[in-house]
Each structure stands twice: as C-alpha cells, then as structure tokens.
C-alpha cells in the first residue's frame, strides 16, 4: 500500500518518517515522492472551497498589520485586511506550487529547461512585444546581460534589448 502523507507528515523534518513508511518503503522512495506529493496536496488545498475558515494564531509584524488595515480603509484594495492577507497568501502559494512543479519537471527532463534567451523570447511573445520577431537579437542580449548579471530575468533581457534598440541621440 502506498504511503500517503498527511499535512502533518509534510511538516516532518527531513530525514524522519512515519513508522509505517519506514517499515514498508525504502528511504529513496520517500525522498522521491515527498516533494511531488506535497505539491499535489498544496494544490488540492488551494482548490478547496473557501467557505470554511479557521481562526489562526499566526503572528505578523504590527506595522504590516496596520499597513494592511490602512490600505483596506483608505485605498479600498480589498473588502477587509483578512481578505487582503488571504489573497496575498494564495497568490504566493500558487506561484510557489507552479515553480515547484516546473523545477520538478526540469529535474526529470533537463532538456525541457528553457535558457534565458528562450525565456526572453517567451516573455516578448506573451506581451506582444515586437522583439518577439527578433529571436536572435534577444538571445544575444541574454548572452550579454548574464555576463554582468548572472541572475537576470527574462524581463531584464527584454529591457536591455529594447534599450539597445533605441538609436543614440
């Protein structure tokens, strides 16, 4: 029978396992399934109906709480500070799950991992940026920018490529 982790199991420190799992599976197996199952479980929880709520003892910085309250009252960014917090948390978790799924995919299929040039082209395409018609220009820009900024993003490459395309005054 497969080991199905509960949320508690997913919080378990690395290297510790439920007794049943140790009895029935090898450590390699646990390590292999742990992350994908966590991703799936977080994803399922994010898809759950939002009608059920819980009180939480989560502590947040007082200044952040006050800033959120002010943003709700004066800027109308959300119906309540709680709604604002929940929406921000959901957005972050959705991004985390998506990136974890992609990272897991890249581990299994290294050839699927896009280069910075590929990503710059994809970003230009999604935005309808005319640079999408100049893939070689974007790839050169990506090669140039990583020399000085190894952590550059696709959007950084687009900005760099656009700046280079502006004729000197």
């Amino acid at each position: 029978m497969a080991f199905l982790p509960t949320p508690f199991d997913l919080e378990r420190p690395a290297g510790t396992f439920p007794v049943s799992a140790v009895r029935t599976t090898g450590m390699w197996y646990i390590a292999d399934i742990r992350k994908p199952r966590a991703i799936e479980q977080i994803s399922r929880l994010l898809d759950s109906p939002v009608l059920e709520t819980s009180n939480t003892s989560m502590r947040i910085p007082t200044a952040l709480r006050d800033a959120a309250a002010l943003a709700v009252k004066e800027l109308g960014v959300a119906p309540s500070a709680t709604a604002l917090t929940a929406a921000a948390l959901r957005t972050t978790l959705e991004a985390v799950v998506m990136q974890a799924a992609l990272d897991d995919h890249y581990e299994r299929h290294p050839e699927a991992r896009p280069s910075l040039g590929d990503l710059a082209l994809a970003a230009a395409e999604l935005d309808g940026n005319p640079l999408a018609n100049e893939p070689e220009h974007l790839r050169r820009a990506a090669d140039e920018i990583v020399e000085k900024h190894p952590d550059a993003s696709a959007d950084d490459v687009l900005l760099w490529a656009e700046a280079r395309a502006i004729p000197a005054a």
């Binding site: 991004a95 998506m98 990136q99 799924a101 590929d118 999604l126 999408a132």
Partner: protein
Amino acid sequence: MSQLVLLDNEAVQALGDPAHPKHHRVVSHAQIVASRKRRAAEIELAVPTTVRVEAGWDRTSSSRAFANRLRITDMPLDAASANVGAIIRKRTGVSVPDAHLGAVIQSAPADRITVVTSDPDDMRLVAGDATITIVTI
C-alpha cells in the same frame, strides 16, 4: 494590469508531452507566467474545458501530472459561454473548442488576453472585436 494566457489544443498537448516538438516552447511560456506570478503580477494560465476534452486532458490521470500541477484554470462551458460560442460557430464554422475559446476571449475581464495556439487565423476569427495577442507555436 491583469493578463489571461489561454492555451489551445496543440499547446495543451505540447505541454503535457515532453517528447512533443513544441514542449520546450510552451514550458517557456509557463515559466514566464510562474515567474511573474512570483512577483505578484496578476497573470493566469487557463484552458477552456472543451479544449481540454479535445486534447484528451483528464485531470485525474497521473500521466498528466505535470500539467495538473501548473495551476491552469478551467474555463467551463457554462450557459452564457455556450450562447456566445454557438453564435461564433455559426458565423465562422470553427470547431466547438475554438468557438469556446472565442467565447472566453470575448467575455474575459482581463486587461490583456494572450492565446498560445498553432492556428492563429482561427483565433483571429473567433476573437471578433476583442484585442488579443497571439503566440503562434
């Protein structure tokens, strides 16, 4: 500014199959969406449910695990979408999934709509007066 990125049949198939010749490209688009979401951009990947039927994407199938984990939103064919889709199909003669894509395009509240597709002509046809960005794969 909010952005909706819609996938057509071939984009869905390419995403789900690492051996598909266009897999790498569609993964690049998914990666951009993920990176922008991480920076709190209002951007969403979505697929009309009839496109999912056409592409054979069953969310309960383990063979589609990668696509299932990417938080791609289902756009259901509800009564309102069915009405708009029927009008589009009658006017253009496109397939049901493409007409559904058109209905989503014409009714989505997003500020920018991008369609990742292998059939740009049909997407222009079904978009009607809506302004869309087309990514041809």
